[in-house]
């Protein structure tokens, strides 16, 4: 019942936006998303105390991992839909967008969120696949919202590349299903997580190996991992800021959630060696690609997008280590990255609206001219680069420790070297944007308090989680146990 309600709330928000064209409808959507987040927190507490819940005739199931992902999705959705009200109001006010398109935008965002929630709450790998594919179809319109040439190109690339990826993921799912049927599964339940995990030891190794490789490649496309990552910088830079925040902050990690689940099945059947090799390879190549393209970046939204590829690489590397400590760190990183990255994308949307350009060399002396925006952007980058006190620092440290424990120390060292390069590149870009003396002709203004507040709250949350992991540690450990032997 709770699970159905969690799914229904964002849709209710969408229906409100669709039926009532007033600006207040946007706030109604924020309120339903807030209620969804509250239910998610309740669910997390409940699941840790008294075990998994099911809903909708067994189509939905929430264990600690699902509950954690619901909380992540909920937190970032609240941030993004709050700023979404602002973005649409600005766009309608200066005529870049008709009220009708603003309504369509509001509805699509809510459907997008519901699809992500369905993905993390699905009890069944087939439903998970359908939900992830649905997120692609919905977000295409959101990426193309501005209807400029760049936005159209980005949405075409996004849909074509992700459709290929998701087709490969379906192929992998079919092969896993084939193994499960041969291991004595019944056709109606063989695709359930619980039945896959319980039968894992009897799954045919060669076919499962092929299936898992296809799943990493396929869902990896949506995560933004090499080799099918090229859609990501285009889509994230062209989408309206709240959509970039949702895509980068949670959609990528929702796809990674699928890989984590399948990894648990594969590891139980084949031992950890196979998935470890595969994930280390994609992780290190993603890190290398991200670093090389960040060095020469000229656009700050694309800079943030490549930064997402870097963080997905780190998460994949952490998952490769595979021990409970590593998985708990990966999940903490998913939350920390989601918060910091979505705040940064939302801030970059404000910067772009104020400055009229997304080029790094078009923005300067931001700290002096727009202290609020410049401050949030700077602190957000500090968080994202993995400096203390933010939670990304603790999660990166924990992941590295786990990697050393399982003999992946060399990979952790490689990752650290790449991160140093990225640190230098990003601080160079940031210095250009933030510091310097303003010339007298430059405009300066600060966003209203109701716009700045959620951004600050997001960063404070990211910092608090880093300092006191206390409210989360039980949940993280329980969630890590779900996908480790």
């Amino acid at each position: 019942m709770v699970l159905d309600m969690i799914l229904a709330l964002p849709l209710l928000g969408g229906a409100t936006v669709a039926s009532c064209r007033h600006r207040a409808a946007g706030w109604a959507a924020v309120a339903t998303n807030g209620a969804m987040l509250a239910l998610g927190v309740w669910l997390a507490v409940h699941v840790v105390r008294s075990g998994p819940l099911t809903g909708a005739d067994g189509v939905l199931r929430a264990d600690a991992l699902s509950a954690f992902m619901v909380v992540v999705v909920g937190a970032i959705t609240v941030l993004a839909s709050w700023l979404g009200v602002r973005t649409m109001a600005l766009e309608v006010a200066d005529g870049r967008c008709t009220p009708r398109r603003a309504t369509a935008y509001g509805v699509l965002v809510q459907v997008f969120v519901a699809a992500m929630l369905l993905a993390v709450l699905a009890a069944n790998v087939g439903v998970l696949w359908v939900a992830v594919e649905a997120t692609t179809i919905v977000t295409v319109f959101l990426v193309g919202h501005r209807q400029t040439r760049g936005a159209l190109e980005a949405s075409w690339k996004y849909l074509v590349i992700c459709s290929v990826g998701i087709a490969l993921a379906f192929f992998g799912t079919v092969l896993v299903y084939l193994c499960a049927l041969h291991a004595g599964g019944h056709s109606s339940s063989a695709l359930d997580w619980t039945s896959l995990v319980s039968r894992a030891r009897h799954l045919d190794p060669p076919v499962l190996r092929l299936g898992f490789a296809l799943i990493v490649l396929g869902y990896g496309t949506k995560v933004g991992l090499v080799p099918l990552h090229s859609w990501l910088p285009d889509a994230h830079s062209q989408a309206p800021a709240p959509v970039s925040a949702l895509m980068s902050g949670v959609l990528l990690t929702v796809a990674f959630y699928a890989i984590l689940r399948f990894k648990a099945v594969t590891d139980a059947a084949l031992g950890p060696g196979f998935s470890r090799t595969l994930l280390v390879v994609v992780a290190l190549s993603s890190l290398a690609v991200a670093a090389s393209l960040l060095l020469t970046q000229r656009d700050y939204k694309r800079m943030l997008a490549y930064h997402s590829i870097e963080h997905m690489g780190l998460i994949a590397l952490g998952a490769a280590a595979g021990i409970p400590l590593a998985i708990a760190a990966v999940l903490l990183h998913i939350l920390g990255h989601g918060l910091a990255k979505s705040v940064l994308f939302l801030t970059s949307g404000e910067i772009m609206a104020a400055e009229g350009t997304s080029r790094i060399d078009g923005v300067h002396a931001l700290l002096a001219r727009r202290p609020t925006l410049g401050g949030v952007f700077g602190v957000g980058l500090v968080a994202l680069l993995g400096l203390p006190p933010f939670s990304l620092f603790s999660s990166e440290l924990l992941m590295a420790r786990a990697e050393f424990q399982v003999g992946l120390g060399w990979a952790a060292v490689c990752a650290l070297a790449v991160m140093v390069v990225i640190f230098v590149a990003v601080t160079g870009h940031a210095r250009h944007m933030l510091l310097g003396a303003p010339s007298t002709t430059d405009a300066s203004a600060s966003p209203p308090a109701w716009v700045a507040a959620p951004l600050v709250v997001g960063l404070v949350a990211c910092g608090l989680i880093g300092v006191l992991a206390w409210p989360l540690s039980g949940l993280l450990q329980a969630a890590a146990r779900v996908v480790t032997p």
């Binding site: 069944n124 087939g126 439903v127 696949w129 359908v130 594919e133 649905a134 692609t136 179809i137 295409v140 319109f141 193309g144 209807q147 040439r149 760049g150 159209l152 190109e153 980005a154 949405s155 075409w156 690339k157 849909l159 074509v160 459709s163 290929v164 087709a167 490969l168 379906f170 192929f171 799912t173 079919v174 092969l175 299903y177 084939l178 049927l181 041969h182 056709s187 109606s188 695709l191 045919d204 060669p206 076919v207 092929l210 910088p233 285009d234 830079s237 062209q238 393209l293 020469t296 970046q297 694309r302």
Partner: protein, 217 residues
């Protein structure tokens, strides 16, 4: 009885692959849509044959959905969206003879790569799994070598149909509810792509996709 079943299954699966290769060969949108529709029907026939053979009502229903969506709805939607512009693939990145040779190579690769799965599945269906993989690979070839939006959509459909064929042959289809979701997603995906193609046309005029150069590093 068994041999009739095996013949029908082999014929239908073979037709799916032949349609994929023919896509490489034709250049006008109207013909390519006819080929895609034929492939959809052939795919439906594979599911129907399997369903009748094992006497599974769910699978027969899946076959019906597959026929309606892939054989009728999707080709019709693409046709309607592309209807007013006589679209031809004028200058594919890889010309027709070369892509036919490449497709032959891909089919060999598919048979080599899918041998493991084929022997694992066994029986008539298992022997045909490489045909599905070959369709998928030919779909990739269409995707990377054709420059018109409609042909890229067709390439995606070939990939999709190849995976669907493997799914039917390996496991007699995924459960009906999921198949329904999968078909619906495919249908929506095509609709969205066609809407995008129309917007691209109104924004850029008559263009080849590799002329899209707005976004790069």
């Amino acid at each position: 009885m068994t041999s009739t079943y095996a013949t029908a299954l082999t014929l239908a699966a073979g037709a799916v692959l032949i349609c994929a290769v023919v896509v490489l060969w034709v250049r006008s949108v109207r013909s390519v849509l006819a080929v895609v529709a034929t492939q959809g029907v052939a795919l439906g026939c594979v599911a129907m044959t399997l369903g009748l053979h094992v006497g599974d009502a769910g699978l027969v229903a899946t076959a019906g959905v597959e026929l309606a969506v892939k054989g009728i709805a999707i080709p019709m939607l693409i046709g309607r969206a592309a209807g007013d512009a006589p679209d031809r693939e004028r200058r594919p990145l890889v010309n027709v003879p070369a892509s036919l040779v490449a497709s032959a190579a891909l089919i060999v690769v598919a048979f080599a790569a899918a041998r493991g799965v084929a022997t694992f599945v066994g029986a008539t269906g298992g022997g045909l799994v490489p045909v599905g993989v070959a369709t998928l690979l030919v779909g990739f070839l269409v995707l990377v070598s054709r420059r018109r939006p409609v042909f890229q959509v067709v390439g995606l459909l070939l990939v999709d149909n190849g995976v669907a064929l493997v799914a039917f042959l390996c496991t007699a289809g995924v459960p009906f509810l999921i198949e329904l979701g999968v078909s619906l997603d495919a249908l929506l995906g095509v609709v969205v792509l066609m809407v995008l193609a129309q917007r691209l046309r109104s924004e850029f005029g008559d263009l080849d996709l590799d002329e899209l150069r707005e976004l790069h590093d």
